[in-house]
Symmetry: C2
Subunit: 363 residues, 2 copies
């Protein structure tokens, strides 16, 4: 029998490892984690840079930080969950200090969202993260526009990077400020190592593979700034991105059938799941005979990322590949599970929305 | 008789007016100033952008600001005096609020001077400005690295400028941070209009003609930011640059005979003046017959910029062009006057050095 936790679809991720020097997340690292959890066990995290220093901190019970953030340009969606759950994981399982950045300067520069408006979006986003379990007492939550230390680091980073490097990484940008916000992001990633936060110390940044250029740039700059700060080059883990429900390779706001938001109407979510691309055979007869192809199926991928219950996901996988389960029934099972989780999540979220506002007003 | 306050040397400044749209500083503007002072009366200020709004504020007794700054990379020299004296002028004569920026981020990015070191240089520089008469009670003196509002404005400016514009203005810069410090300078110039300083209001920035690109960029960005801040496009006056004593077109640190620092040994200054390029004739006989050429003479230029006593400068000009005064004697007269001024200045400076430190430590 195939492994239900194997890679999904055609795997471009190996190319990243081969060509860009991302290190594979091998079992000798992942299995040494005391509680590896969904993201490691299912192979959603496929690679890393410098994760060994974070592993060492975890194993030795030494302080480390986990950092993530969000550009407050819209509601939390399926994709936002992957990073948010991981910062909660490191905080809850290993006592990491969590840093959560609201990238409002980037939202302004990239999407022309004024700070007053992005603040409201950020309140909503932060409430989602709190509902996922972030403990605000062991977290530093901040807006980029209010965090001078990040700006200081961005300017200092700028002094240590060539224009040619910026172009090689980010291409030709029309809006000059986009290069600047890239350096703000470098500042964000280095912030946990600031002396005000008892730095330097190991930091892990869970990101999608598309964020590797930021990571490489930041690790490079951390080394250049070393004589002044003793920064430890920040570590990153790279996770697979959940593909578009409609069969597209990437979830995208431009394509509403490819994803859903957490606060979306449940009927709309149902419609999207029921119309999603599956790995089903052309006829029920063939399905019964050959079984489905979960690696192609976006509904199975949804379960793979979003359903924590291992035995349920394994069961779906087994019954699909054996031809026992047909797509319509499978979609219903998975939709019900997702809807149940969403209901609980949104109920938790309503209880923390005021706290989210308070936390952001303070900082 | 020729006008001793006429233009000196070959005049490239008209080209700036013709080709770049700097407006000439015409008498209908300068003469309406209640007390035009040395820089306007001698034509050292040859052009402007948008000075009419500042003139109106002066004539109507309305609040306005004057802004200047220094990159703390070395001691005050002859060139630094021109802008510093002008901010004192607007403050003293018309009650302008003076903004004085210590561009330490730029000193780091451009000259790799760490903040701790540039702080000490800035203390020395600020003491010079205080000795020139700046009233700290009606001034906002700050270090760029400490002024988050300037950083905010720089990031916002970045969102409103294209990469192509940055390159067109500043050329191909290897160090990416130099573009960022250019936008910090935009932030500096807009700071007096921030609501925290009761902005928007007219601002005048006295600069050398070489700074026009910054001014144009800032005025352009001020207009783009208008809906959010109501900024009045900052005004600038452009002054001639004092040329190199040794005959070079520009004073330059790379060429120590071209200039002197205010804290330089008086014998060294004497040596530089005595060896400066003059407008003298090849022989004393010819000098007596045709008179000297003050417009070529760098020692006359020194007097023109640095000696406030109009009648003395006029007398030197008259006696030079009539053949009465020969270069050796003239150099001695001018050196003595400069040495006397320097002695007084440095004595005043010693008295305010502790104040300068205190002011910079506070901010």
């Amino acid at each position: 029998m195939l492994n239900p936790w194997g890679t999904s679809g055609i795997d471009d991720y190996e190319k990243l490892i081969r060509e860009f020097g991302i290190e594979p997340m091998t079992s000798d690292i992942a299995c040494r984690l005391p509680r590896p959890g969904k993201y490691f066990c299912r192979g959603i995290i496929f690679g890393h840079r410098g994760f060994d220093v974070v592993l060492a901190a975890i194993l030795n019970g030494e302080p480390f930080a986990v950092l993530s953030g969000i550009k407050p340009s819209g509601a939390f969606h399926l994709g936002s969950l992957t990073t948010a759950e991981q910062i909660v994981y490191y905080q809850k399982e290993y006592g990491a200090t969590a840093f959560y950045c609201i990238a409002d300067v980037e939202a302004f520069c990239d999407n022309r969202i004024p700070y007053e408006k992005s603040f409201e979006i950020a309140v909503d986003n932060l409430a989602d993260v709190l509902a996922l379990g972030l403990d605000p007492d062991r977290a530093y939550i901040y807006r980029q526009s209010e965090e001078k230390r990040v700006m200081d680091l961005a300017f200092e980073a700028g002094a240590h990077v060539t224009t040619a490097t910026m172009k090689a990484i980010y291409g030709e940008q029309t809006v000059f400020g986009l290069y600047m916000t890239a350096l703000l992001q470098v500042g964000d990633i280095l912030l946990p190592e600031h002396k005000d936060f008892d730095g330097p110390k190991p930091v892990v940044v869970p990101v999608g593979a598309d964020q590797d250029p930021h990571i490489r740039l930041t690790r490079d700059i951390a080394k250049r700034l070393h004589p002044r700060y003793d920064f430890i080059p920040p570590s990153a883990t790279f996770h697979r991105l959940i593909r578009g429900l409609d069969g597209s390779e990437k979830m995208s706001k431009r394509n509403p059938m490819s994803y859903f938001e957490l606060n979306e109407d449940v009927e709309s979510i149902k419609f999207k799941i029921m119309n999603a691309l599956t790995g089903g055979r052309p006829t029920i007869k063939e399905q019964r005979e050959f079984g489905g192809e979960p690696r192609m199926c976006r509904v199975y991928e949804l379960a793979f990322f979003r359903i924590d219950d291992d035995s349920l996901v394994e069961d779906i996988y087994r019954r699909c590949t054996s031809g026992e389960l047909i797509c319509g029934d499978c979609k219903s099972i998975i939709f019900e599970k997702i809807a149940e989780w969403l209901k609980e999540h949104n109920s938790r979220k309503r209880k923390v929305i005021d706290l989210a506002r308070k936390l952001l007003e303070e900082r």
